[in-house]
């Protein structure tokens, strides 16, 4: 627990502040309706009123989901509260007992006070359903809630992982939701007494004398009501502007010209694109969004940058994994003289940038998750070339886990050249890497066993032999902890959640309680 707090204290603090703010705003608005005088008569009919508060901030995926859950919870509370309200309004409209509530409800039927009604159900014959579907608040409420429900059901993890396009398209309904939210309160159905009317006949003085309100000689006149101005637009204005700005930025960036310097086809249909764009700057491990208008005008797909910041171009490696990538690879395979145009948005940052802040770094990449580490390893090579003495990192342990190396032959070649470079520079202990092949069978293992005495591995050509199966993390962590007893070790993972859980546990277990001794910090990259 203590280690978790050490790693995540900032986000925990931020979350706590945000939830406290939500709670405060809710309580404040609730108390206004509960206690404040200009809602005295409103409370008479309704008992109490509820209001939802939502603050859609879009910072990262987890926060987005948290906000979505809050929106759903508050929407449910809001709807249930208004259901009760409408029921009570309806009942008091039907009441004929001459009580305060029925007098208040009948205000709309007096010629002089038609506009200062309190009860939105204007006559005893009006049904609740009618008011819902003929008022702006009701209609926008129903449509907005429907949009929300459709967004939520198509965003369930099962649908999102397997039918991403359905999720993406349905999620664009957020525009409908936002518009409905902004105009939801325009009708001013929630009403409070006007200030003039309060000065004239304050409810504390006049509420008991409601039978005499119509008399000309009474001190108390009929109370006048006005609708509360809509407020939800104030909450969503800033985020909507930020979002619009980001979309405009993406459009502007897509208009910039990209020059494709080199196109390389690697084995197993992996396409490497080396590009330049004026004014493009990147850090290690970042990613970009790529659009190819000749394939689709609407689709932007994310790819990790596999080049180092020190190079004068930026590159991505694209593996065929669906319609769009298939079309892209095919378009370049055909080698037409007219190369398809590419639009790029980014780069966007991820946690891999922090690798060089640690003395010792443990990098774990599974399958396709090895791509950000290509960028990191290349950058390290360049730093050595330029003899960067500011490099804090002293040792790197790199674990590459995949089923088979076919699709990553390009990464294999990178490792081979790095291996050679390290030897030439005499820095053999700097980069320690292990490759684990999880998709092995008897033949592969047998073949490897027969060739065990060769200098290079038969599968990969690397000096370091390939291991079969999965790493035993306890052994790895304890070896590293023993080898670097006083260091801060950064553990970087790009891979599945189960492995993340495993590594996180190991980090907590092998971090020493003494802050001067070895500490493991876990960082995970999400795709």
């Amino acid at each position: 627990m203590r280690n978790w707090l050490a790693n995540h204290w900032f986000s925990a603090l931020w979350l706590l502040v945000w939830m406290a703010l939500n709670a405060f705003l809710f309580a404040q608005t609730f108390l206004t309706y509960e206690k404040s005088d200009n809602y005295y008569y409103t409370r008479e009919i309704l008992g109490f009123c509820n209001r939802t508060l939502r603050k859609p901030l879009d910072h990262n995926l987890t926060f987005h989901k948290l906000v979505a859950y809050m929106i759903c919870i508050f929407t449910a509370i809001h709807i249930i509260a208004h259901l009760f309200n409408f029921e009570r309004y309806s009942r008091s409209q039907q009441a004929t007992d001459g009580s305060l509530t029925s007098v208040l409800s009948s205000l709309s039927r007096h010629e002089k006070h038609k506009d200062s009604w309190l009860n939105p159900i204007l006559s005893p014959n009006t049904t609740v359903l009618y008011v819902t579907f003929t008022s702006i608040a009701g209609l926008t409420g129903v449509i907005g809630t429907l949009a929300l429900i459709l967004m939520v059901t198509s965003a369930m993890e099962f649908i999102r992982r397997n039918y991403f396009e359905l999720f993406w398209v349905t999620h664009q309904l957020f525009v409908v939701y936002m518009v409905c939210l902004a105009i939801h309160g325009i009708g001013g159905i929630v009403r409070g007494q006007t200030k003039d009317s309060m000065d004239e006949s304050h409810p504390h003085n006049c509420a008991q004398y409601y039978e005499k309100w119509g008399d000309d000689d009474s001190d108390c006149k009929y109370p006048q009501f006005e609708g509360k101005a809509p407020e939800s637009w104030k909450w969503i204005l800033a985020p909507v502007i930020l979002y619009a700005f980001e979309k405009a930025l993406r459009f502007l960036r897509s208009q910039q010209s990209i020059v494709i310097n080199k196109v390389i086809m690697h084995p197993s249909r992996v396409l490497e694109l080396q590009m330049t764009k004026p004014g493009f700057r990147m850090e290690v491990g970042q990613y970009i969004f790529v659009k190819c208008p000749s394939i689709s005008h609407l689709e932007w797909h994310p790819f990790t940058l596999t080049s180092a910041p020190e190079e004068d171009f930026f590159s991505i490696h694209v593996r065929v994994a669906g319609d769009w990538t298939e079309n892209l690879v095919r378009a370049f395979e055909q080698q037409h003289s007219l190369v398809p145009r590419i639009a790029v948005d980014g780069p966007f940052g991820t946690v891999s940038e922090d690798v060089f802040q640690y003395e010792v770094a443990m990098l774990v990449g599974t399958g396709i998750g090895v791509t950000p580490f290509a960028s990191i390893l290349k950058s390290i090579w360049y730093k050595f070339q330029h003899e960067d003495h500011n490099l804090k990192t002293q040792t790197i342990y790199f674990y590459w886990i995949c089923r088979e190396t076919g699709a990553f032959a390009w990464f294999n070649d990178l490792l081979i050249s790095l291996e050679r470079e390290m030897e030439e520079l005499g820095k053999v202990g700097f980069l320690n890497y292990r490759l684990f092949l999880t998709g092995w069978d008897g033949n592969v293992a047998g073949h490897a066993a027969l060739n065990f005495d060769k200098a290079t591995d038969i599968l990969t050509g690397l000096k370091e032999k390939t291991y079969f199966g999965r790493p035993k993390w306890e052994n790895e962590f304890s070896t590293i902890a023993t080898a670097h007893p006083k260091s801060v070790v950064g553990v970087f993972l790009c891979g599945p959640r189960t492995l993340a859980k495993n590594l996180r546990e190991c980090c907590h277990r092998y971090s020493s309680l003494d802050p001067r001794k070895v500490q493991f910090y876990f960082n995970q990259e999400n795709f």
């Binding site: 449910a76 709807i79 249930i80 259901l83 009760f84 409408f86 029921e87 309806s90 009942r91 609740v128 359903l129 819902t132 129903v142 809630t145 429907l146 429900i149 459709l150 939520v152 059901t153 198509s154 369930m156 099962f158 649908i159 397997n162 039918y163 396009e165 359905l166 398209v169 669906g322 319609d323």
Partner: protein, 187 residues
């Protein structure tokens, strides 16, 4: 839209609608709203929809994640055979179930959601999709490293030639002629 299976989304939507129907029904009944008996109906209809939709069907391509504890309900759903397998039936059923709840404001949201789910099921049925139960695979226990049997023919062993199977003629055997017949004891 790629390889979308509409029934999967319809299933999520219908499950959500069932829950919304139950919630709206509880509000209407507990608050004793006017015509609250529609609310009572809505609770029952919502529960029925939830029970029917909880077991997720098998995807036609790829593996399917089961919902927690769904195999008991899945067995019951499977019993109804074509009534639950066919999505036209489900579309019509949901449409009919949703109608009475449409008379009450508290439950009308559930009605609209269920109608939408019914529409998506209709689309799925038109495209020939069907509800199929998820087959449970026998769980493969990951083998711990087996303790290998110790060698059954420890040294000293007779030389290689003697360990060969006695399929050839003894006279044609190697340079050594054994005075005592040597048997192959290697397992």
């Amino acid at each position: 839209m790629g390889q979308i299976e509409w029934a999967m989304w319809a299933n999520e939507q219908a499950l959500a609608s069932g829950l919304i129907l139950i919630a709206g029904g509880i509000v209407a009944t507990a608050g004793r709203f006017a015509q609250w008996y529609f609310g009572a109906y809505s609770i029952v209809a919502g529960a029925l929809v939830c029970l029917l939709e909880y077991p997720r069907g098998r995807r036609s391509k790829g593996s399917t994640m089961e919902r927690c504890g769904q195999k008991y309900l899945a067995a019951v759903v499977k019993l109804f055979g074509p009534l639950t397998r066919n999505y036209y039936v489900r579309a019509v059923l949901h449409l009919l179930l949703s109608v009475p709840a449409g008379f009450l404001l508290a439950t009308i949201l559930g009605t609209v959601c269920l109608v939408i789910a019914s529409g998506i099921y209709l689309l799925a049925a038109v495209r020939g999709e069907q509800w199929m139960a998820i087959e449970s695979k026998p769980k493969e226990r990951p083998q711990a490293e087996d303790i290998k049997q110790p060698p059954s023919n420890p040294p000293p062993r007779p030389p290689v030639e003697a360990r060969k199977k006695p399929s050839e003629d003894e006279a044609a055997g190697g340079p050594q002629v054994n005075p005592i017949p040597v048997t192959d004891e290697v397992v």
